[in-house]
């Protein structure tokens, strides 16, 4: 037994060593010129490519399938194979990174708007600005391309944008002679009135669970209060500030005063949406899909829901800040037919596709011309108020963004769950962020 085990072990070690050697080195992509001067591999009108995206269903129809059908009508030479991606963003990322670093993966994939820096620094996405001219990037609404840029190269084409909105019950505000709140303080007083009249159980529901969504919501409160997460060079935490403590204290006070349910520390989008749709809350913070959902089938408050920019703190000018979300189109560095990939990317960000996603699937288009066209605005109530909102991006220009976000959402979640005070939470989050951006720690 002993004698026979040894060769096996040796073989195993040899195999491991060989593989480790094979996997070592061979990094580094060719440094290519910028702004569309490079020629992509493959044929722009022929071949077959795969597209990886989470299914996006409205009325039993998958947006991705409809867009692919349209694409193939215009480009009969290219076949697109649709691969439905996992709905959970982190599972989606884990699957993609293991596939791509293993040498495979889909040709074009739909990825979160906060991925570019991390994916760029790990070479999991192709810098497509080397193939596409400035005139192409100019078709997007302001600021969106910057969010997909890392070290001067653009790694993804913005596909649809998303942002936080305030949803409110039109019937209750009217009954109580209240106006749509423009400050957080007014939101609290409106909520108290409706709650005391037993019109609703809660005033405001939002996202406070231990996940990325809690970071998004906190970014809005933080920016309203005048704070920020990272220093301007992105190398240090700027979170430890009175503004951050004010923002988090306010979030905590919503729970403490009973404006928000204690369960908000377990709320993701779905739970807050359910509470609002069941008529339990006067206000809701959610992404743009919530308008169609709250006014659609299965909602007890259908027809009684309005949408507005988020409020800000008293004494601040303008509306409150909305966190930028949304999804971008990335090209896999292993793709054999980059030219066809780019044809697909251009179609998806062009007039036809962007109009479909805006009018049939109530997404916010990234294409500026589509976004401002009158017929699109008329068919999408959320879109009509987009120009009134102020946007703030998460500090995702750091390759260590996932850890920065973990520090933030854990702090928020800890405070909402009552296990930490706001000032302690901000202090420890800030030191966690400093460790993360210096690429240390776990």
């Amino acid at each position: 037994m002993k004698a026979s085990r040894r060769p096996l072990l040796t073989a195993g070690l040899a195999l491991a060593a060989a593989t480790a050697l094979a996997l070592t080195g061979c990094s580094g992509g060719s440094s290519s010129a910028q702004n569309g001067s490079s020629k992509p591999s493959g044929n722009a009108t022929k071949g077959s490519i795969s597209f990886w995206a989470g299914p996006s269903m409205v009325g039993g129809q998958d947006m991705n399938k409809i867009l692919i059908t349209e694409f193939q009508k215009e480009n009969p030479g290219i076949t697109v194979k649709y691969i439905p991606a996992p709905q959970d963003t982190d599972t989606n990322r884990a699957t993609l990174t293991t596939q791509i670093s293993g040498g495979g993966g889909p040709d074009v994939y739909l990825g979160d708007v906060v991925w570019p820096a991390q994916f760029a620094s790990h070479q999991l996405a192709l810098p497509i600005s080397q193939y596409l001219p400035k005139s192409y990037w100019d078709t997007f609404a302001n600021g969106l391309v910057a969010g997909a840029t890392y070290n001067g190269k653009v790694y993804a084409a913005p596909f649809f944008e998303d942002q936080g909105f305030l949803y409110y019950r039109t019937d209750i505000l009217k009954e109580d002679n209240l106006t749509v709140p423009t400050t957080w303080e007014q939101l609290v007083s409106d909520a108290k009135i409706a709650q005391s009249k037993k019109q609703v159980q809660y005033g405001y529901v939002f996202q406070g669970a231990n996940y990325e969504g809690a970071t998004c919501d906190f970014m809005e409160f933080l920016t309203d209060a005048g704070g920020k997460v990272l220093s301007s060079d992105g190398k240090k935490s700027a979170l430890d500030s009175p503004a951050a403590v004010k923002a988090l204290t306010f979030e905590q006070s919503l729970v403490k005063q009973g404006i928000a349910p204690a369960a908000v520390s377990t709320y993701q989008e779905t739970q807050s949406m359910n509470a609002f749709q069941d008529g339990d809350s006067l206000f809701l913070r959610n992404w743009d899909y919530a308008y169609a959902s709250a006014n659609g089938q299965g909602s007890k408050v259908a027809g009684k829901v309005g949408v507005a920019p988020l409020p800000t703190f008293q004494g601040e000018s303008g509306s409150g800040y909305s966190n930028i979300g949304g999804w971008d189109l990335y090209v896999n560095p292993h793709s054999k037919n980059v030219a066809a990939d780019l044809t697909f990317v251009k179609f998806m960000t062009g007039d036809t596709a962007q109009k479909i996603i805006a009018t049939q699937f109530s997404e916010i288009p990234t294409n500026q011309a589509v976004r401002t066209s009158a017929d699109v605005k008329a068919s999408n109530a959320v879109l009509a108020i987009v120009p009134q909102t102020q946007l703030v991006a998460r500090p995702s220009n750091s390759p260590q963004y996932p850890e920065v976000s973990q520090a933030i959402y854990q702090a928020v979640n800890g405070v909402l769950a009552g296990s930490q005070s706001p000032s302690d939470a901000i202090k420890s989050a800030s030191s966690q962020i400093n460790t993360a951006v210096s690429n240390g720690g776990l």
Partner: protein, 327 residues
């Protein structure tokens, strides 16, 4: 007639050879046996290669990664240099220290509860005259459910808005606690879900052990006038030791790697209250893409659980030999 004649002879032959083996002589292998052994290895080689590819290689690869500077890149993993920095990073991180404490505590509490409750249920089942088969079948339902599914079901039960647990606490006048929203209650909720699911596993193993216990020892105890209580502590439990040890080992191995329950129920929260070593390793590797430190978390976890099991066996074995000396 020919076959009838050969069968007993063969039987006798095998009996003698087994006698030889017992008689401290090294088993002699003739050329035929050796060539058969070689042939056997040859036939099982493809299977062994597959097993090596899917188990040994990833384990070795993970250990290699944990001692290297790893960067995941589009072109594959870039691995260079020998370093201990992954381990120092891991050991110094307060989130790892917490995850270790949580995982150890979680393992000790769940395994203890499951062994105690599982053994009690097994004792009842053994006495049960009727419906034993039915009871076993019902008991096995939680065990046969995939953990992700049972965790999702518990998620519905614990839901703060429409969960049944919330209604029960309300009916008992205990208000409306957010079960998964505070650290203590979230940890308790996870332990409950785990105990519910895995106690049947312990029950089945202990029951198998109980059924195989020799009857005469019990008769002797009865003749000596031992009470039921005394019989349990001095006869049943010592005889059950090896069975319970087996159940504990299986459970430690499984509980120490707990991933699916917190992944579904709490995502490791509130804050990081339910972040187990497995959840932490997954997050470090696949969200933060830090494969070196992630591999170090995985390797340390594996080493720790093996050490834990060895320690348990040592303590348990010494106790077994003690009782063996007594008898």
């Amino acid at each position: 007639m020919v076959t009838a004649g050969t069968v007993p002879r063969r039987g006798r032959a095998s009996r003698t050879s087994s006698h030889d083996a017992r008689g401290a002589l090294p088993p002699r292998r003739n050329a035929y046996q050796q060539s058969m052994a070689r042939l056997g290895w040859g036939f099982s080689a493809p299977a062994l290669v597959v097993i090596a590819a899917v188990t040994i290689f990833p384990i070795v690869f993970s250990v290699v990664m944990s001692f290297s500077n790893v960067n995941v890149l589009g072109s594959g993993f870039s691995i260079d240099g020998f370093t201990l920095s992954n381990y120092t990073t891991v050991f110094q991180a307060s989130v790892w220290q917490y995850a270790l404490a949580f995982t150890v505590g979680y393992t000790v509490v769940t395994v203890t509860l499951e062994i105690v409750i599982g053994t009690l249920i097994a004792l009842v089942l053994e006495r049960l005259e009727a419906f034993r088969g039915w009871m076993m079948a019902i008991l096995l339902i939680p065990w046969s459910l995939i953990t992700v599914i049972s965790a999702t079901l518990w998620g519905y039960i614990y839901d703060p808005t429409y969960g049944i647990a919330d209604r029960i606490f309300g009916a008992l006048g205990m208000g409306s606690p957010v079960i998964l929203g505070t650290p203590t209650s979230a940890i308790i909720a996870m332990i409950v879900a785990d105990v519910w699911k895995t106690t049947p596993f312990v029950t089945i193993i202990v029951l198998a052990g109980l059924v195989m216990l020799p009857r005469d020892v019990y008769e002797a105890a009865e003749v000596d006038g031992a009470s039921g209580w005394k019989t349990f502590w001095t006869v049943t439990l010592p005889l059950l030791r090896p069975t319970i040890a087996l159940a504990v080992l299986f459970r430690i191995l499984q509980a120490f790697g707990v991933f699916d329950l917190p992944f579904v129920l709490t995502q490791g929260g509130p804050r990081n209250a339910t972040t187990s070593l497995a959840i932490l390793g997954y997050r470090v590797m696949f969200t933060d893409l830090k494969f070196g430190p992630g591999a170090a978390v995985a390797t340390t976890t594996a080493v720790l659980v093996v050490l834990g099991c060895l320690l348990f066996l040592r303590v348990f074995k010494s106790q077994v030999t003690e009782t063996g000396d007594e008898s």
